[in-house]
Amino acid sequence: MIDYSTLKIIWWILVGILLIGFAIMDGHDMGVGTLLPFVGKTDLERRVVINTVGPHWEGNQVWFITGGGAIFAAWPVVYATAFSGFYWALLAVLWALFLRPVGFDYRSKIHNSTWRSVWDWGLFIGGAVPPLIFGVAFGNLLEGVPFQFDSYMVSTYSGSFWQLLNPFALLAGVVSSTMITMQGGAYLAHRTEGEIQRRTIIGAIGAALLMVLAFVAAGIWLQFIPGYRITSVMDTGALADPMNKTVIRESGAWMVNYGKQPLLWLLPAIAVAGALVTAALLVARRTLAGFVTSSLALVGVIGTAGASMFPFLMPSSSMPGASLTLWDSVSSHLTLGIMFWATVIFMPLILFYTSWAYRVMRGKVTVEHIQANEHSAY
């Protein structure tokens, strides 16, 4: 069996991969949802847009569900503390997501323009709200979250929903929103043609440039935000007890890892370069390459956040010693091991049949295609 410290690191990487998988796959659906009301002017055009993701959004959404399940299994105390603390934020995400299954499946079943328009805006909310809130949540993680534990490990959160919406976190929300819109735009451009494609490319380029600005601004801001640093010696192989360390808050702490390991600068560099190259490729109508570079940009953005905070997962601003880290907020050795093997076995299978599904459904979705499949298309 792999030793406990190594498994803890592996799980930090695996959750990172799941988050990135979620951003790339469910992200492009959500980006398409965000663009839907703006790039599709008529009902037929909107059906084209919807049907580019129609056969796939359901599978892609499982990245979100499985991400939640994996955090539950690997970092139960993070799952418990984050989701109960961010109660209303998470409910807003869930309620926005409710609009997607019904939006996709029910929208075109009734021929009525009001009905369809309502569901189009539902799909917009379901696409635009979750990435915004995830970004805001990440911003708050970087700032630290006010929670504490008692001796029974009961967590209490002493902040409010409105406190989450502070300027830095909102900027992080803009980074997240724009990167997901860029991702959806690159995908949609690849699957459409003509006027829809033209409008989509304009939107995606705008999102990419805005993302670069917001990402760089957030990076500069981060220098002035107090980060967190463990001051006691961490026994990385120890049982998971988040109360058994000392932590201080200090300015520049989130930059320490970059000083120790300069190669990490590649991550923000990939984020910026990926977005800029995506914009350039989309101008040249190189849509598939644009989707790949956009996905790389997401890896860069999420990687940057992870690398800055390592080994922290959820720092506590009100009881810094109780901050959750990848060393002390994990499941038992046995559970981490079992879940590692489950992931190693099933993740390649998932990637296999997902790519097969995309291959079967490949090609441009056109207005003619929708007209020919009036009763079966979304």
Binding site: G54, P55, H56, E58, G59, Q61, V62, I65, T66, G68, G69, A70, F72, A73, P76, V77, Y79, A80, T81, A82, F83, S84, Y87, W88, L91, L94, W95, L97, F98, P101, V102, Y106, K109, I110, H111, N112, S151, Y152, M153, V154, S155, T156, Y157, L239, D241, S331, S332, L334, T335, I338, A342, F346, I350, Y353, T354, V360, M361, H375, S376, A377
Partner: protein
Amino acid sequence: MISEQLVDLSRLQFAATALYHFLFVPLTLGMVWLLLIMESVYVMTGKVIWRDMTQFWGKLFGINFALGVTTGITLEFQFGTNWAYYSHYVGDIFGAPLAIEGLMAFFLESTLIGLFFFGWSRLSKPKHLLVTMLMAIGTNLSALWILIANGWMQNPVGAEFSYQTMRMEMIDFWAVVFNPDAQAKFVHTVSAGYLTGSMFVLSISSWYLLRKRDVEFAKRSFGVAAAFGLASALSVIVLGDESGYTVGEAQQTKMAAIEAMWQTKPAPAGLTLIAGINETEQKNDWEVEIPWVMGLIGTRSVTRQIPGINDIKIKNHERVTNGIIAVKALEALRQNRNDVQALSTFNATKADLGFGLLLKRYVSDMAQVTPALIDRAVNDTIPRVVPMFWGFRIMVVLGFAMLALFGLAFFSTIKVAQEKKPWLLKWALWMLPAPWIACELGWFVAEYGRQPWTIYGVLPTHLSVSTLSVNSLYGSLAGFIGFYTILLVVEMYLMIRFAKQGPGSLGTGRYAFEAMNHEAANGTGEKK
């Protein structure tokens, strides 16, 4: 201490969201197999009517599936939002099956459902059939892992408490997977789903037959549903009896409440058919009993006794008393991990830790426990009898009524006489709500009967909640109920509309009511 109101509201929200979810799940579980049967016949015979059947019933399946997904999202996250202490305390065990469900089953089902709907013209017949089959397998595996998680809540095997991490930790994964409660629940629940799917197709087909429209389509659908439904009805009853047996082993309390067995009866105990339950005096004013049957179901023997509520309470009194010692020792250990004295006391009593924690509902300091409080905690260990007793009985009666219906439906299918028996068709139509009522009641009996625990014998419900404000709960509960109800109304509207229009909604030109498509397309339909 945690406010009772917060606990009640959290429970209500979980119950409401789970029961809503469970309106859609059983139909999905059953219909995937019916779709697979219909499509298999299409691939084998090449008769296009069977493809039309797959596509039309698939359309209704899709309308239902959308809300299954919508309401399912909540459940994956609600343990974290509203049951944070539960998630911390048992996440090491409970999180694993949920995550594996996503990786092994839900990904498969959800990725392939897109190809099921949109892959007809892009896949060869056998490949499309393979997609349908894998979708069906994914759906059922999904239920397996969820019920492994749920089974562990009823019978927490393969795990041990750790005072260092202050939570339950897994020690034997395979014990969790092969938990007899989980396996019995799985087969009983999926059979109930198959029955629900069969009832749905049987009822709607009967309606077409009563109206004498799309007769060839409806007769075939009726036949498939009758055959599959008969097998499902038999299996749901037989396997329900099997889950009665495991309940008897792991959760005698639930069994005693279901049977309103206040006193232990000499073996083999009789089965109480109906009774006038007097909850305040803890007795039945009258009862109608069949001798022997209960003992056979519960113990598979004629000599072993099934304990009544009185004996369970006596045993629990001991466990609560012992549990107080465990809680005190644990609290000492949390202050000083090297307290050897406390550790040895704790190790001797930790099996009853959960029972000690029951008192946390009334006092935070174990030094303040009085004998009266211990009695209250012991009384809490028995769920209320009336809802358990009658909930169970209504479920069983509905189960047998459906068995009879499917038996007759199957018989008339063999004799190709479906249309000639309007009384049978009407019966089938009016029975449409029956599987849903039975499923919801079954879920209720299983989960309400587990009270006062979230994890039986390990973690009391009132300790499991997130420390949220009562106002947050009022807000979210209202939001969930409002949102779900609107979506349910929309779903029912679409379901009824497409069921009424029938296979004509496929736009193939082969069925009745094709005109509705054109009316709708021209904007002159019923929906303006």
